[in-house]
Symmetry: C2
Subunit: 433 residues, 2 copies
């Protein structure tokens, strides 16, 4: 594993000691949080939001120092913009924390239950996960979002943000912790790891102390965490998203959906990366579609049959390689292929997709049903943009990430996805024969 | 990791090639299984059960060879008994497969859904997990159980049983595969790995090919899998179970619950391993209880205060060490301690328990509520034996294991716990602004 080899042994041992201490404090905090009422937690959330506003000047100053260092290190302007905090952005972050107040408390919900033949009453209830580690990159708003969702769901959060936002995150977390303490909840409900990369290794191997780790960021980060972790992990956010335009598609609708899926925001995980078109409509659909892309400076990687159309219509392109079908461009760039059938599209998607979001555009019921049944992904959409894969859009209120794994949670994750369950048995002396 | 170092590099590479080939066949089978109707799957289950009965002679012969080798290798008689198959036991295994027919098909169940303000209809449905690897020890009935639960939930199963039952498992799996093929379902829905330990490593690192691995067996097996796996894992079955007898307990009830929890079957994961007694009732309760244990040849590990009682009543014991509080004896052996309060009992349990099943005996509502709220375990029981932690007892019909982790499934796991979910979006051209 990369991160293990990067830390000298002494530094790693020192990190393990320090991170385990943080995790033990988190466990104690989690014990108190699990007993807190919704009213307690909501009051603390209101105070956390206010603390962000009250400390806006300090946060902006710390953020300016982060930006200064970023510029000195040659950070590109796109990343600088993601990192930048203004009083207005801080107010938005505080509003996002306040929105969590209105969400129902998932803990305590009774999921199922019955009375057994011997009179024993059993019920399964939602309980907090306990201690959740979150490892993420760049944008400091994630720090406040994760803290708010953690408190509401009764979990103690250990946050490990990107080094580029270290100073911003430190001030944000200090503000949140003081607000928690003032409202009678443990400050250690939210802790920030500020050591080097060896802290990531220490966190993801803290078995028995950390109940779940959620990595949120680029493919490299996710791989490092998944391959190195011995605590349970939920993979998030890699989206090699396809839109398939079927032979029975409404081609006007298809064009709108492709443009929205690819270009609404190119840097997000639900953005389309590959367009597949049924051969029967390729000659009708592709000339206009490729022209649309060219007009919007979208770089094109085309398979042989799509290339023929582009050639005829005079659009510039590169031939698609095997790597293109597997690439999440996260940019104004798309791979385009022509397929012979809905099953060929499905097979291509299941072979190359990242199981995030897959779209079919068709007016044919059988094709839609087959696509929904056979495509293996967190979200499968018929005649709708891939951009809807989002906790807010799904009505979840807030999201901590989009799971692309099958275990525990799949798709947008919000408060209920941050909980576990507990079976409670109540009897009056039942024993088993 | 132990298993990695045990295989020479060449053998490991050969195993990876072979196991990946098995997993690819399983993926294809899983694709077909996901499209199979409940009627298809139930018909195949009936044929699988019948095939076990039809091949009983072959199975018994293979099992006799396994037993012969076990005796030659010095296998103890308890393990021999667990391994032994008779025509009667095979009939019971077939009956267990038939019982799965009556259980509802979990796949396709709509878990939640709504229509978004823009008219987009969304719903979350249960789908099969895909390919599940199962690594287990000894008893060959697990082979048929896992195959049946896998087929019913639409999952292709890759089974890796203990080497002691290798011949028995091979004949059982061959019978099940022929029954599947005769009923139009893929034989590769059930496959058996028969290589050495390197196959375990290959299976638990087959990312992208295997969706879930479930280890079922002793602590060593679970540790090896959890520490070495890069595919998602559900930990099962380690049960360091406590019974706490509160100051407000009905002591007659407490005695029955302790005896049932400890001695109903000592070798199972829901058996009690530690008894904690409130100091106010220790002098009343312990003399009888320790006498009961002594009369049943239960080996006692007592803390200082319990030791004083034993000394006064003339019962033999050993002093409990720190290791005793953490030990799952799985035998006629128990650790006993005296605690000062319900919170002291809870703290002891949270520090030493394996988060499986924890019991309080009390007539005090506040103590019961506090124990239920604060104890961190899959199952928390008030005034009932720990022996009820069992999928069959919970009315789940069948169980593939008892999860002691918090992610995905906690407690007894049956058919719904072997599924994932998929969000289906249906629109008429919706795009996101």
């Amino acid at each position: 594993m990369t991160v293990l080899t990067q830390a000298p042994e002494g530094a790693q041992q020192e990190s393990v000691r320090r991170v385990h201490e943080v995790a033990r404090r988190a466990q104690l905090a989690a014990g108190d949080l699990a007993l807190a009422t919704r009213a307690d937690k909501d009051a603390a959330l209101a105070a956390m939001a206010q603390a962000l506003v009250d400390h806006a000047d300090e946060i902006v100053a710390a953020n300016a120092a982060d930006l200064e260092r970023g510029r000195a290190d040659g950070m590109n302007t796109g990343l600088q913009d993601r990192l930048r905090l203004t009083p207005q952005r801080i107010a938005q972050i505080a509003d996002a924390v306040r929105e969590v107040i209105a969400l129902p408390d998932p803990t305590g919900e009774v999921l199922r239950g019955s009375t057994l033949p011997n009179g024993l009453q059993i019920r399964q209830i939602r309980v907090p996960m306990g201690v959740i580690g979150m490892i993420y990159e760049s944008r400091p708003n994630v720090t406040a979002d994760a803290a708010a969702l953690g408190v509401k769901s009764g979990n103690a959060m250990i946050l490990r943000g990107g080094s580029a936002a270290a100073l911003s995150n430190a001030v944000i977390v200090a503000a949140l912790r003081s607000a928690l303490a003032e409202h009678g909840l443990p400050a250690d409900s939210v802790q920030l790891l500020d050591g080097g990369r060896e802290d990531v290794t220490s966190l993801i191997t803290a078995r028995g102390l950390v109940d779940l780790v959620i990595p949120r960021g680029g493919a490299g980060l996710i791989q490092t965490v998944v391959l190195g972790a011995t605590v349970p992990v939920i993979e998030t956010g890699i989206g090699n998203v396809h839109v398939y335009v079927d032979s029975a598609a409404d081609l006007v609708m298809a064009r709108d959906i492709v443009i929205n899926s690819k270009l609404r925001r190119t840097s997000v995980c639900n953005a389309a990366e590959t367009l597949l078109v049924h051969r029967e409509v390729a000659a009708t659909f592709l000339p206009t579609m490729l022209g649309d892309f060219a007009a919007r400076q979208v770089r094109l990687h085309l398979d042989e049959r799509a290339g023929v159309v582009a050639h005829d219509t005079g659009v510039g392109f590169e031939p698609a390689t095997a790597a293109d079908w597997a690439t999440e461009y996260l940019d104004a760039e798309i791979a385009v292929g022509v397929v012979d059938s809905v099953d060929a599209a499905i097979d291509h998607i299941n072979a190359n997709g990242s199981r995030h979001t897959e779209v079919i555009v068709t007016e044919n019921r059988a094709a839609a049903r087959r696509f929904v049944a056979r495509v293996d992904a967190a979200v499968v959409a018929v005649n709708a943009s891939s951009a809807f894969t989002d906790g807010g859009q799904f009505g979840m209120g807030a999201e901590i990430g989009i799971s692309t794994q099958k275990l525990h949670a799949r798709g947008p994750m919000a408060l209920p996805e941050l909980t576990s369950t507990k079976w409670v048995l109540e009897g009056d002396g039942q024993i088993r024969s």
